[in-house]
């Protein structure tokens, strides 16, 4: 079936694969055929009939026009897309489609970019022969992201197919029959899937449009600027639509190797956070507890004076993993030039014992597109749909194609594909991994051998093990996610993962926590990595060691200490004890207000040029689309001036591209698929809370970073998994005598918070899930660690 055949379309010879649909061949050849229901990434419905063409095969004409989207090509096929017969059929279809479509283009948000409008220009009549009443369909509230005008729907069912096939949840359906058929949820619930915004792009008419963008601009007023999404590690290719220096909306750009044609809702609506009213618009200094605006030169001189005067060993730089490559590189240059090696970006990690054994650049270990061709995947510590929505889609494709997916997690995931889930406390996660390792006869260091020796593999473990072994190196992978990274024994998880991979003969992949986590290793934003991901001879302190209260001067770049650090309460204490804290941020917030002494406003996403390195090591450079507000400046420019002010050499960059190429030269020899550990790690398990409760602090999808947390439309999405509460298994709650809504005092270490109970059987026994990154969690300790719950006596 791989032999190519030649068909003829409009007199042109076209090469095609047997079984391909006519429309796919025509699209490749640049021959346009009108269509509404066909979409290359969705199943074929052939229900709009707009793509009718005239055809003949082997000299015998088809008796009537055939739909190009549902007619496979064969030998001797001849197609005419513009013949009188084809045009007549297309015009006929168009007339029927327009019968019930309102002629309200001037007040329709899709006007100017509407497929129906475009095709009607080509095929529509100028007079309607339809004199009856048009159909009217009641609108449905699909939530804060998608606006509906269902009267305009032409029932192409792209949105229904997208929900079923790509999103994997059937939230939308076509109910009713004939003229009464309508698209909706039928019961009027909000659409909550993390990829739901794609139906806005798919809808060929103005039935489903973007609610935040609605009625704010016309498409012809917008200029498109290419960008890269700043949230998860995929680096989705996006196009920013800008009008008068404002980002009006975000659309995906096709890139088969990265995001196909989709983007997650976080990438689509995150831009709204740029408009939040707590933007930092001028440098500010705190004097006796009161914040006061100051000029840039005063601010930078103050910062330079404090950094020069500080002991480099007592200075630390904490950098957000979604800062640009240029920012990270320049920041670490300044730090290292001043003699300070305390630089880190792994803000939500607490166990750093394996630093010396870690791969030089932990990446996905395989091209993103290859994830969907895996035959066996062991997913360790990742709520993947929330962490990496589009990688989850790739994983789903693999699972639906028959891959064995096994998850080892401290909570049961809502997955939209078949998978076996081993759910247990963080301590049990180690046991589960050890059991899988034992099934594979894996061996390692002595601590590891003890753990593996004590394991008791069950059938589920053996199945996961044999699936990995059978699939082999190219088609099996062990993936480590963000929940694994917050684990108190992350070192051991990594050792176990590598032991499993070695014994099964498969690969290990790291799911990067943020848009530039991989880039941070390349830029040297790591205590043990010099630029170019070269190991350092004099490693500095990791995040945990920087926040143990011993540092006097700290620089925080692009994050909020009360939301983005693994131990919010511990960080607040350490930052409180520090003598001087410089925060470079696009936003203000209670955490920064109390922790920092000097705040420098930098440009957020889309306000700076830069480079992100995605999960598989692809460098993606982008330009700034809008200027930062007020006095804020792009981060790399701030650092350039700062470097010059500190009299450091080599800060005479003309533009960001020069910074990037300097780093790129250093990274010429980096290997992006070598995730093998560099040595043994003899970490002993800390036995996280084998007795008592362990907190599971997952990061909800819309709490990931400062920008997402400020996007008003995303914050309105009803996400059951995102509310700040303590989620307990019903049996666990019953054991402790708590019911739903019970007010508790949750304590970690010295401090705690009053919090209500929600029953959730996705949380294992022995665990209390309290999401991280949400308001209310400032006084809690490590995202994953011991916690005690006590009923509040007099609420």
């Amino acid at each position: 079936m791989t032999d190519k055949i030649t068909i003829e379309i409009d007199g042109r010879d076209c090469e095609a694969a047997p079984g391909e649909m006519i429309i796919a061949v025509a699209d490749r050849e640049g021959i346009s055929i009108p269509r509404f229901c066909y979409h290359k990434k969705l199943s074929i419905a052939a229900n709009c009939r707009m793509c009718l063409v005239e055809a003949e095969q082997g000299g015998r004409p088809f008796p009537k026009p055939v739909p190009a989207c549902a007619t496979p090509v064969g030998n001797g096929l001849k197609v005419w897309t513009r013949s009188p017969k084809a045009i007549e059929a297309q015009k006929g279809t168009m007339e029927f489609l327009l019968i019930n479509h309102p002629l309200d283009c001037p007040i329709c948000d899709q006007g100017g970019e509407c497929e129906l409008q475009d095709v009607a220009m080509g095929y529509g009549g100028d007079v309607s022969r339809f004199s009856e009443r048009k159909r009217v369909v009641e609108d449905e509230d699909l939530g804060p992201l998608i606006a509906t005008d269902m009267t305009r729907c032409i029932q192409c069912t792209r949105c229904v197919r997208f929900a079923a096939e790509v999103a994997g949840v059937r939230e939308l359906g076509a109910t009713g029959r004939g003229e009464d058929m309508r698209i909706g949820t039928f019961v009027g619930q909000a659409v909550t899937h993390e990829l739901s915004g794609n139906v806005i792009d798919l809808c060929p008419v103005g039935a489903l449009t973007s609610k935040p963008f609605r009625f704010t601009a016309r498409p012809w007023e917008l200029s498109g600027i290419d960008g890269i999404a700043p949230h998860d590690g995929l680096g989705s290719n996006i196009r920013l639509h800008v009008r008068r220096n404002r980002i009006m909306r975000v659309h995906p750009r096709d890139n088969e190797a990265v995001n196909e044609t989709w983007i997650s809702d976080r990438d689509r609506f995150g831009y709204a956070g740029l408009e939040s009213d707590d933007r930092l618009t001028a440098p500010m200094v705190k004097e006796e507890g009161v914040w006061r605006e100051i000029g840039w030169s005063d601010a930078l001189e103050l910062a330079a004076k404090r950094l020069k005067g500080a002991d480099p060993a007592e200075t630390g730089w904490l950098l957000a993993p979604n800062a640009t490559l240029e920012e990270l590189y320049l920041a670490q240059r300044i730090a290292r030039d001043l003699g300070c090696a305390n630089i880190d970006h792994r803000l939500r990690q607490q166990d750093f014992r394996a630093d010396a054994a870690d791969p030089l650049v932990p990446t996905l270990g395989l091209p993103v597109a290859e994830l969907e061709r895996q035959k066996a995947v062991l997913l360790v510590g990742s709520d993947i749909r929330q962490e990496q929505p589009l990688l989850a889609h790739r994983l789903r494709k693999a699972a639906l194609a028959g891959a064995t997916v096994c998850c080892v997690n401290p909570l049961k995931l809502n997955l939209n594909h078949p998978a076996s889930q081993l759910v247990g406390t963080p301590a049990a996660m180690l046991d589960d991994l050890a059991a899988i390792a034992k099934s594979l006869d894996a061996r390692g260091s002595s601590a590891l051998n003890d753990l593996i020796g004590a394991a008791e593999p069950t059938e589920a473990h053996a199945e996961a093990a044999s699936a990995l072994r059978e699939a082999g190196e190219q088609e099996a992978v062990v993936l480590l996610g963000a929940l694994a990274a917050t684990h108190p024994d992350y070192s051991l998880i990594k050792v176990l993962a590598h032991a499993i991979a070695a014994a099964a003969g498969c690969r290990v992949g790291y799911l990067p926590a943020a848009a530039n986590s991989v880039g941070a290793y390349l830029a040297g934003a790591h205590p043990d990595r010099l630029p170019g991901a070269k190991p350092s001879e004099a490693p500095g302190r990791s995040v945990a060691a920087m926040l143990d209260g011993s540092l006097k001067t700290l620089v925080l770049w692009g994050f909020e200490p009360d939301r983005d650090l693994v131990d919010a309460a511990g960080a607040a204490e350490a930052l409180g004890e520090a003598e001087f804290v410089i925060a470079c941020s696009a936003f203000r917030g209670p955490g920064l207000d109390s922790a920092a002494d000097l705040m420098l406003p930098i440009g957020a996403f889309a306000e700076t040029s830069g480079t992100f390195v995605n999960a598989n090591g692809t460098w993606q450079r982008f330009q700034g689309a809008v200027p930062p507000p007020g006095e804020a400046r792009p981060g790399w420019k701030v650092l350039r001036v700062f470097g010059n002010l500190l009299d450091l050499n080599g800060f005479e960059y003309r533009d960001g591209a020069e910074v990037q190429s300097e780093l790129a030269a250093l990274c010429a020899e980096v290997q992006y698929d070598a995730n093998a550990p560099r040595g043994d790690c003899e970490a002993e398990p800390t036995s996280p809370a084998r007795a008592g409760l362990t907190r599971i602090g997952n990061i909800p999808v819309y709490a990931l970073d400062p920008l997402t947390r400020r996007s008003a439309p995303l914050q309105e999405v009803p996400l059951a998994r995102g509310e700040f509460a303590v989620y307990l298994h019903p049996a666990q709650a019953a054991e402790d005598g708590f019911g739903p809504g019970t007010l508790l005092y949750a304590q970690q270490g010295k401090s705690g918070v009053r919090i209500r109970v929600i029953l959730d059987d996705h949380v294992p026994m022995g665990c209390a899930r309290i999401p991280g990154g949400l308001p209310g969690g400032e006084t809690l300790g490590p995202l994953m660690g011991p916690i005690s719950l006590e009923r509040v006596k007099n609420p």
Binding site: L42, S43, I44, A45, N47, T157, V160, R161, A164, E165, G168, V169, R170, E171, L172, G173, A174, T175, G176, R177, T185, F186, V187, L400, D761
Partner: protein, 175 residues
């Protein structure tokens, strides 16, 4: 519509032994047994019929959700089926259903006269129930008995070659 990855199975995480009565479950199970296990959603139509009959001739959203849970299928798929076919009713119905065919053969053979007759004599339009709750009058698509048009489906039985008079007799016999 075709789904590339059909059918989507959804575990609603409900205890199936608490859904419906044992008799209804047994009746649905008899239909599920006709299909391969991964295609048990195919039993959705008989399941809806059984559940509707046990509920006085109509389906609530909760009952449709129960059917979805019982067959491990998305709720909206059940709504699609139930709202598409004329034999499922999503509102309370009279004690009986008088379903007059309004498709081409019956129309040519006088079903319009039957419809007008019912409207005038009993004071109900299509989809409405008589004041005494005796029957609900429905217009339905082709009943597939064209050669004896016009046809009326009265509850579960077909009545052919009807005139307003013979239809009256049938309705008079209803409780």
């Amino acid at each position: 519509m075709s789904f590339r990855n059909a059918p989507v199975a959804v575990d609603h995480e409900r205890d199936k032994t608490t859904l419906f009565t044992p008799e209804i479950r047994a009746a649905i199970d008899a239909h599920i047994a006709k299909y391969p296990p991964e295609w048990k959603q195919s039993a959705v139509m008989p399941a809806l019929t059984i559940v509707q009959d046990a509920n006085g001739g109509w389906l609530t959203t909760e009952l449709m959700d129960d059917v979805a849970a019982y067959l491990d299928m998305p709720q909206v798929s059940v709504y699609e089926v139930a709202s598409f076919y004329g034999m499922y009713d999503l509102e309370p119905q009279g004690r009986h259903k008088v379903c007059v065919c309004n498709s081409i053969s019956c129309l040519l053979q006088g079903s319009e006269a039957l419809i007008e007759h019912i409207e005038h004599k009993y004071g109900v339009g299509p989809g409405e129930t008589t004041a005494d709750g005796r029957f609900t009058f429905k217009e339905v698509e082709c009943l597939g008995a064209c050669r004896h048009a016009p046809v009326v489906l009265l509850d579960k039985s077909y009545h052919e070659d009807l005139t307003p008079e013979s239809l009256d007799k049938l309705i008079d016999e209803l409780e």
